[in-house]
């Protein structure tokens, strides 16, 4: 059994440029790592497991291939934690 079946929303990963294919003008910290990309879309053709090379259809209907990294990927950015330095703002001004 694969992790994803045809039509599932999935995310793929691609390495676009390896470090030696990147321009020399970059800072060392950037030049020493690959240029990578993640794209979401619907799995095409067959069942697949994480780590396999797959084909997807993106939200605008284009077909793109890459390595399957996630099935039904979530948005997990949040509202963050309350920040004590911000909590008093406004309250003290209203008291005066």
């Amino acid at each position: 059994m694969g992790d994803a079946k045809e039509g599932d929303l999935v995310q793929i990963h691609r390495i676009i440029l390896k470090p030696d294919q990147r321009p020399d003008s970059l800072p060392e910290s950037t030049k020493s790592v690959p240029y990578e990309c993640w794209i979401k879309g619907f799995l095409l053709g067959r069942e697949a497991s994480i780590g396999e090379e797959v084909q997807i259809e993106t939200f605008v209907g284009r077909e793109i291939s890459g390595v399957l990294v996630s099935v039904n990927p979530a948005y997990d950015h949040s509202f963050g934690l309350p920040q004590k330095e911000l909590l008093s703002i406004g309250r003290e001004l209203k008291k005066t």
């Binding site: 790592v33 939200f59 509202f79 963050g80």
Partner: protein, 470 residues
């Protein structure tokens, strides 16, 4: 076809000519000068056309709101008779939640009119969402290229929210790691698809923003009987300043002082994988603000129509903590909860209003939507997780990439004036550097003076001083 970095970059001009529908070569005058107004007029839309087209997709006509409580507080810390009235243009009321809808709206209409089936834009910010939203309304496909992650695959919450927003509007989103190769990918996608390049820097993008400057001038005149005395604008790539100032002038606001504000992130390298997540602001900061003033033709098109230095009277810097403080203040005192990046100009305005007389009007010309990821709490949580010190205190102790200091009192909010003459001088130096052995003609001198809001005498002096240095 050869898709290596070098091969794609060598096909750049041809790809962009197809992608924008503009032959930039037609507007070149010399190695220095080009016909700016000719390029701006090339898509053949008047301000009135732009207003009508934007209205079709619900863009524009946002309210101009007086911030009475903040104004009152600013007066309490101003010298006698001082403390101008602060108004805010609530651009978050646009369909995708920012003024960038104006910037995208006309371009997307233009793309549809020219018969393109889709559009491509490189943006990790509100502009990407605006392109996706406008494309949805016009039935075009949108591909948005975003610089999202560092090499650990850690992304700022503000940018992750932008991925979500673009996908919510039905766009194909490429989440990329740090690097200027974003431009290379854009060229490749343009070449693969034959789509329109919805660059931030094409004429239609700036013409769309002109409606904002025009509208706020008209509203101030109608509501308060005078043009704004000062308009304060968050500055990154220069489009916001350029479009707003051009629109202001078209409305007749010739005496309005145009002030640009950027968050001070001096010292952080924009293409560095390590520095990438040490910024708590992803736009509206000096990392874009200064280079785009001193060398505007550095974008994804051969000539940039966003030329901030042409229109800027004054450029000031503010710290990250002051913007977060101001964002809280706007919510708590005025009942308007908006995203921090758009409040950069409001933070600057609090300091600047102290200089104005009480009857004078200061307009902060944008707000942006807020949500998970685009909030002081999420951005400061992320900053702490990435080793940035966050504390209350004197915001002058802010160190970009190291410490964010949240003010404890309103009177701690101050701007730092950036020396305009220094900017003009490096603008001229950059223009001269690009052309090496070429000596500028009279026409070039006139162009440089106009492009840097300076005089021909002053441009000549700078050129002489620079050649003396060599």
């Amino acid at each position: 076809m050869d898709t290596s970095y070098a091969a794609v970059m060598s096909r750049k001009n041809e790809i962009l000519r197809r992608g924008t529908g503009i032959d930039y070569q037609e507007y070149e005058i010399s190695p220095i000068a080009f016909n700016y107004e000719g390029l701006m007029a090339s898509p053949q839309y008047s301000l009135n056309d732009a207003q009508k087209i934007l209205k079709e997709t619900g863009v524009g006509n946002t309210p101009l709101v007086e911030l009475r409580n903040i104004t009152e507080l600013v007066r309490s810390i101003s010298p006698p008779g001082k403390g101008g009235r602060i108004f805010i243009k609530d651009e978050a009321a646009n369909p995708s939640g920012s003024f960038k809808d104006r910037r995208a709206g006309l371009s997307i209409h233009h793309a549809a009119k020219l018969g393109y089936k889709g559009v491509v834009a490189a943006s990790s910010g509100n502009y990407g969402a605006a392109v996706a939203s406008q494309a949805a309304k016009r039935g075009l496909k949108a591909i948005i290229l975003q610089e999202v992650y560092d090499s650990r695959r850690v992304g700022q919450p503000e940018i992750l929210e932008k991925t979500r927003a673009c996908e919510a509007y039905g766009a194909e989103v490429w989440q990329l790691t740090v690097g200027p190769e974003l431009f290379y990918i854009m060229l490749r996608v343009l070449e693969d698809t034959g789509f329109f390049s919805a660059s931030l820097y094409v004429p239609t993008s700036i013409l769309g923003i002109e409606t904002l400057g025009y509208e706020l001038a008209q509203q101030a005149l109608q509501q308060e009987g005078r043009f704004p005395d000062m308009v304060v604008i968050t500055h990154a790539g220069g489009g916001n300043i350029t479009g707003t100032a051009r629109g202001l002038k078209k409305a007749g606001g010739h005496d309005t002082v145009v002030v640009g504000v950027s968050v001070d992130l001096r010292g952080l390298h924009m293409a560095s994988d390590v520095d990438f997540n040490r910024k708590s602001f992803t736009t509206g900061h000096t990392g874009f603000g200064i280079p785009f003033l001193t060398l505007p033709d550095r974008t994804d098109v051969p000539r940039n129509c966003a030329r901030g230095l042409r229109y800027l009277d004054r450029y000031v810097l503010i710290s990250q903590g002051e913007v977060f403080y101001t964002t809280e203040l706007l919510a708590k005192l005025e009942g308007i909860e908006r995203g921090p990046a758009g409040n950069t100009s409001l933070a600057g305005a609090i300091a600047l209003a102290k200089e104005l007389d009480r009857e004078q009007i200061l307009v902060v010309q944008e707000t942006e939507y807020t949500s998970a990821g685009k909030l002081p709490s999420s951005q400061l949580t992320f900053a702490r997780e990435n080793g940035i010190e966050v504390r209350g205190g004197n915001p002058r102790e802010n160190i970009p990439g190291k410490a964010i200091v949240i003010p404890e009192r309103l009177d701690q909010i101050e701007v730092e004036d950036f020396d305009m003459e220094k900017i003009r001088s490096s603008y001229i130096e950059n223009a001269a550097k690009k052309t090496k052995d070429y000596s500028p003609t009279e026409e070039d001198i006139r162009f440089l003076a106009e492009d840097s809001k300076s005089t021909t005498t002053s441009v000549r002096q700078t050129i002489r001083a620079l050649s003396g240095k060599k």
